[in-house]
């Protein structure tokens, strides 16, 4: 008898990661994370803008105009990173049939689309004074525009199908197929000659920018990251409540 007891105790002690896949456990956990991320995002974005706009030196070619980089590049990174994350959650949803994964994918889409739009608009504002054109159809710009359409397509498709389960699955397939565009965006400036310049910061090479500029950009990036976590979790909580209230109403009937 005693043996059996210790075994169940051990099992109870063993941390079960899957419990977070249940919306019931996830909801309060997300509620605890959100304020920290939101506060961190506000502080880091403010500090990053201070570094970028006031501390960083002017550029030898572009003068003050290059400062848009502190918003443009982190936004562009996040437009791609969030798409991959969204596709990953969509794929997890398909494989594990986990509702929370689909909710995460759905919650990420609007933030990803927003960062894509920010990258496109700031890029356009930067392109006019530096290149001499608001927009050109080179491989980098065109593939980033396609990314925006993929995000819009993802949540339009999801909204167009009434049956939640079918909507989750159909949009997940679209998200996964679209993920192929992300490496195309990233490597476009390497594979083809484009008007857009190559990467200043990459994992394989020393960064091609002054240290304080790089610091400002990385601080902004972490700020955008925390912001993304905060708003995505808020959206997931709202989605959990919505699905729950519908279920509750059905039970009442």
């Amino acid at each position: 008898m005693k043996n059996i007891d210790t075994k169940t105790d051990l099992q109870r002690l063993k941390f079960n990661w899957l419990q977070f896949a249940s919306p019931k456990t996830f909801y309060p956990l997300a509620g605890k994370i959100i304020p920290w991320c939101a506060a961190g995002a506000a502080i880091l974005i403010a500090y990053g803008l201070y570094l970028g706009l006031l501390v960083a030196p002017t550029d030898f070619q572009q003068g003050e105009g290059y400062r848009i980089i502190f918003v443009h590049v982190p936004a562009a990174w996040f437009s791609m990173f969030l798409y991959l994350l969204m596709a990953l959650y969509a794929g997890l949803g398909l494989v594990l049939n986990a509702r929370l994964s689909y909710m995460m994918a759905t919650a990420i889409a609007p933030t990803g689309a927003m960062f894509t739009l920010v990258a496109l608009v700031t890029g356009s504002l930067w392109g006019k004074p530096m290149w001499g054109a608001w927009w050109v159809w080179d491989a980098r710009l065109t593939s980033e525009l396609i990314l925006l359409f993929l995000y819009i397509g993802y949540f339009s498709l999801k909204a167009a199908i009434d049956d939640k389960n079918r909507a989750d699955k159909a949009s997940a397939v679209l998200a996964i197929v679209g993920a192929i565009n992300v490496p195309i965006i990233y490597f476009s400036v390497k594979w083809w000659n484009t008007l857009h310049q190559g990467a200043s910061v990459s994992l394989t090479q020393a960064p091609a920018m002054a240290a304080v500029m790089l610091k400002g950009m990385l601080v902004m990036t972490i700020g955008f990251w925390l912001y993304s976590i905060a708003v995505v979790l808020m959206r997931v909580r709202a989605e959990i409540l919505e699905r729950d209230s519908k279920a509750a109403m059905l039970r009442l009937d």
Binding site: P57, T58, D59, F60, Q61, Q62, Y66, I69, G91, L94, V95, L96, N97, P129, M130, W131, G132, A133, V136, W137, D138, A139, I176, V177, I180, I184, W191, W192, N193, T194, L195, Q197, G198, A199, S200, A208, M209, A210, M213
Partner: protein, 149 residues
Amino acid sequence: MKARHKRFSLIAAGLILLVIATVLITQSFKSNLVFFFTPTQVEKGQAPKTGSFRIGGLVENGSLKRLPDGLRVQFRVTDTAKTMQVIYKGILPDLFKEGKGVVAEGKLGAAGIFEADQVLAKHDENYMPPEAAAALKAASDAKMKAGTM
């Protein structure tokens, strides 16, 4: 095999096929996805003969001059192997400079002169304060001097 393993392998197989398809497509469209042609490519006849296209390269040092009519500018675009004469009427972007990158859109006119309708500046991915740029330039000048001696 559990159901979720099956679903995982299906998705993985689908993704692999998708990657192969994308690689094949982008490879076969490689020549159509370029934004500009270099003077060498134009010389080899890889650029369209009729209609407009873009050429890109560096503005050759000492080649920029304003024509007597005061409206048109002329400069040579080089990819360090071949150069090409370009003529353009309009406002040049701020970053347009000799020795810097440029992309010009237009048509190949008579006598092999490229008549541009639009000139765009292509800048590189290096960002640094002006003092650092000056220090780098001084260092490379000194190196060049030492090399020629």
